[in-house]
Structures are given as C-alpha cells and as structure tokens.
Symmetry: C2
Subunit: 325 residues, 2 copies
C-alpha cells in the first residue's frame, strides 16, 4: 500500500471482495483514498455513491461532476443523488444536520435497493473519530463514545444496512500522503454536509489547542480512550447478563436488582430502558427509576418520548409506550 501498511486496515483481511460495496464518496481526500484503496485490494463490485446535498451551490455541482468523472475513468458504477436540504429545512423538516442525515439515509436506502446484498463503506478516519469522541464528551451523557464499524444502520423502515469504517485506524495526513504517492486527485473542499461548523472548529481550534497545551497528540489520546471505553461497554453487557435481573419478558426482578451493587443496578436499568427504545438513558432518569425500589417511592417514572416505568409487585415494567419502539 505504499505509505499505508496492511496492519493499519485489518478490515481488508476480513471483508468479502466479491460482495457489492456501496462506497460513500464526497469527492474529498478521505473518500477518494478509500475508493482507491478498495480498488487496489481487488474489490470488484464497488458502487460509488455520491449525494449532492445542494448546500454549496456551484461547488456542490462540481463535486458531483468530479465524482462522476472519476468513477467513469475507473470503470466503476456510480450512483448520484440530489437532495435539496435547504428547501426541506425551510419546510420545517428539521435542522440542516437532521435533514442532511435523513437525506443520506434515503439515498443509501435507494442505492441498497438497487444493489441487493450490498453493504456500506465510509471513509471516516482517526481524526474524524477524535472529533466525534470529543464532541460526544462535550455534549454529555455519552462518555467516551466514537463511531462504530460493522454495525447495522436503519436507513428506512424495514431496511438496515451494515456500515463499515475501515479507515478508523488511519490519520487524515496518511490518506492524503497515499493519494499523493499515487498521483490521485481529490476536491479540497468537498464536504459530506455533516454538521461541519462545530466539527471544523473542534478540528481546527479545539484539538490543536489541547495538543499544544499537553504536548501530546490529543486526537490519538481521545481515539485510544474511546477504544478502551468500548471494552467497557462489552464488560457492562456481560455484567448485566451475569446479574440475571431481567426476566425473559425483559422486565426487572426487583428482588434481584436490590441485591446488586449500585453500579450494576444502574447498568441493568440502562439496558432495561434501552430495550424500550431510549438510546442513551440519562443518569438522572436511571436514578429516578432506581428510586422505585424505595417503599415511599412515587408509583411510576415518566419516560422521555412517552410511557412510564411502574413497579408491579416484584417487577419493574414499562407501560404506555408506543409500539413503534
């Protein structure tokens, strides 16, 4: 791989080259590097997928055209999509960030229907991961959580797509060096229209200041810490299973819960609430549900998004929650 060693992308040793792969290609350096790396590694059914979010006028059109030409030269199938994100935001569909995400999901869902059996590959790298970890940390209640790889993403009702991020172990600079070493071109400002304002500032101001103050590579420290935290999530899942406080219907055994140390109780309740569709239950909510164990407790705790947790004799149960979860 020239400047990139095989050990940096263990995914290449596991992935099925003969499968159709949808590759998200903005036209920027990261996604171009991903595309060329896949082709060098003999991935034969690559589908270049580019969504024009219509947010940068002429530049957006230029990105799409650039991606189309690159795909044509490489002899690779190309799916181009267009979404008028600004117009949908004006219609009240949500923030730019939300609408852009919805539009991407719709686009990838279309691509997935046109290429059955395909999975999705995205070009996020270690510096993206560091920004994500820092942003999640600052937003609170997420701890040290980064982007995952190899998980299912629901892109439409009844349609999930497995998402891979093989470049999470590589730095931004390494991908550019790889492209330069091969003489490949990219569009410097091409953006995948993710929430760029905060992300760009974390990249250009936040992380450099932290690196400069600490005399360490802040991005690397954050990525490593997030990887360690991922181990913690696996440990937590095992501990919840060991605790054996959830019955086959997913209800909580009050008597079993009571005997557990507080940290394990919290983990059991977090798992219980997640099963009701509450993605990252807040600490406060978990504490209030834990309060249901007290004899003097209120009879129920309301849940965000509707419904409540109630104590019914020896069980905690979730009630009044919409069936869509």
């Amino acid at each position: 791989l020239g400047v990139i060693s095989e050990q940096q992308i263990p995914w290449f040793a596991e992935a099925d080259q003969a499968r159709p792969w949808l590759v998200g290609v903005s036209g920027g350096a990261d996604s171009l590097a991903l595309l060329h790396l896949l082709l060098e590694h003999g991935f034969s059914k690559v589908v270049v997928c580019h969504l024009d979010h219509g947010l940068r006028g002429e530049a957006s059109v230029g990105d799409a055209e650039f991606v189309r030409v690159v795909a044509e030269k490489l002899g690779v199938v190309c799916e181009l999509g267009f979404a008028d994100v600004a117009e949908r935001v004006a219609r009240g569909e949500g923030s730019v960030e939300t609408v852009a995400r919805k539009a991407r999901h719709e686009f990838f869902a279309d691509c997935a229907r046109r290429h059955p059996g395909a999975e999705l590959v995205l070009a996020h790298h270690a510096d993206d991961q560091a920004e994500t970890v820092l942003w999640n940390l600052l937003r609170g209640s997420h701890g040290l959580r980064g982007m995952r790889s190899g998980h299912a993403l629901r892109v439409a009702v009844g349609l999930s797509l497995v998402v891979h991020r093989p470049l999470l172990g590589l730095r931004r600079g390494e991908l550019r060096e790889f492209l330069s070493s091969r003489g490949h071109e990219w569009r410097e400002d091409a953006s995948n229209a993710e929430p760029v304002a905060i992300r760009n500032r974390l990249r250009n101001e936040g992380l450099p200041v932290l690196s400069e103050i600490s005399g360490r590579d802040a991005a690397q420290a954050l990525v490593r810490a997030a990887a360690d935290a991922e181990g913690q999530a696996a440990l937590e899942a095992w501990a919840v299973a060991q605790a054996n406080a959830l019955d086959p219907q997913g209800r909580v055994h009050v008597r079993v819960l009571r005997e557990l140390p507080r940290a394990v109780q919290q983990a059991v309740l977090a798992s219980f609430l997640k099963s009701a569709g509450i993605g990252s239950p807040e600490r406060d909510l978990i504490s209030r549900v834990l309060g249901l164990l007290e004899p003097s407790a209120a009879p129920a705790v309301n849940l965000p998004g509707g419904g409540w947790v109630r104590r019914r004799e020896a069980r905690l149960v979730i009630e009044g929650r919409s069936g869509s979860f």
Copy 2:
C-alpha cells in the same frame, strides 16, 4: 450557607465534626472558602496546614504570613512548613512537580503525627476536577479519571492519611461568591505549587475554547462524564469478582480466564497486574499477558519495574518482582 446550598456539600452531613481535621490552606480563595465553611459547620478541631514550597520568593513568604494571621484571628491551630523545592530539584530529586508532591506528603505526614487520628481535607472543586479529568484524558491510559475523595493516601512508609475533597461538587466562582458574601479575604495568587503550567493553560485556554466551540459548559460535561466513569470502575470490580478467575493467592486460573469474553479477560488481568503494584496497566501490556494463553506464546511477559508474568501449568503467576510492592 448563603450562596452555597447544603445539598452541594453532602459530606458535611457525614463528617465527624469532633475529629481533628488537617486542612490544606494555601491562602488562595478555594482553601480559604473550605476553612470558613468548616468553621461555620462547627468543625471544632481544625488544623490549618500550610506548606511554603519556597518557589515564589517574597510572595511565598507573604502567603505563609497571611495564613498564619488568618488562623490566629480565627483561633485555630496552624502548622506552617517550609520545603526548598527548587534546591531539591537542583540536587536531582526529580521534577518540580515530583519534589513538590513529595514535600507535601512529608509535611502532611508530620502534621498527622502531631495530630493523631486526624484526616485531611483539601479544597479541590469542580473546575479543578474538570482540569484533572481533561489532563488525565490527554495523558492517555487513564480514561475519564478525576480526583477521588475519602480514600487513603500513603504519605510516608507505614503512614496513610484519609483524604477528603468535599468541594468537588462546587464551582470556583461559587467559592469566591461565598467568601465575598462573608467579607472574607484571600491571597489572589497563592498557589499550592501543583504543576501549574499545564493546569493553568487547560483552565485558561483549553476549557474555554471547548466551551465556546460546543456552546456547552465543558467543565461540567467532563466532571459528569468522570462521575459516570467512576461507576464503570465499580462495575468492573464486580465483574472481576463474578468472573472468579483469580485464586486465593491472587493467581489467574487459565481455564476460567479462557472462557470469558475479551473485555472481562482484560479487566481480570488489569486487576491481577494492579495486585503486583502496576497502577494503571497499559492496554498493550494486558494484551501481551493475554497472549500467554496461546499455545505458541513466549513463556513470560516482562513487567515495567521488574519481574514478569509466567504461565505455570494452569495458572498465570507473577515472579521476580521486588517485595516492596
């Protein structure tokens, strides 16, 4: 308490007012607030402990004199110490940070011997905690770890002192407001000679930039995340006990270890290595010890600070380690 509510310092409801308490007082706002809060709450055997690190010339002398006068006015016992940190650094005892910490431990050990049964109270608050969490995060391999409270600190061979930090739930500004509301004075630049350069820059540049970019209170986010992570440590300890992979001699059952998921194996080995005096075992070291389970593995893994882990039939054992651990 005026501007500070009782709920912000739950420690006051638990602590024994009649015990002798060593209070670290630099002369700055934080420690003065702690001292006055203790006295308002009827702590009757307060001992003001001030160590002059000799690092700021006339200003250091002024701090010590200020603290002596405050204690005298308040009718409180005062222990003043002096350490020539710069001279000890020049003699090669270590960095300023290391020597200052050693000097503080020696001083608190002296104070503890003169006031038997005393415990130590320090004035670290939520903003200090945020800086510590961020610094630990950037240094790597510590995750989201902050300062603790209520734990034993070994200040000399055979002498441990319980350290309390009752103000960790309060912000720097709240402590100053409290002092102002009471008309109490403090020395603006008094420093406890902790490693101030990085800490000051994290406080004055790092955290403000992160707050400004994210539009959130970065300090609060870090403190909360660290509190959540503390729960993780308790969960991990429970999981290690449940795993039952350590025998009464503290050796690892290879057969039991083998059946555990990777994250639990790592937690068991971290606990195993900690028992040998390796404070925060690096991820790499744990991976190498885990490698001893492979039939083709090298027979032993060297430990930092001497000794090694060896597989002896069905156990992992630590050998060749100095007895001082």
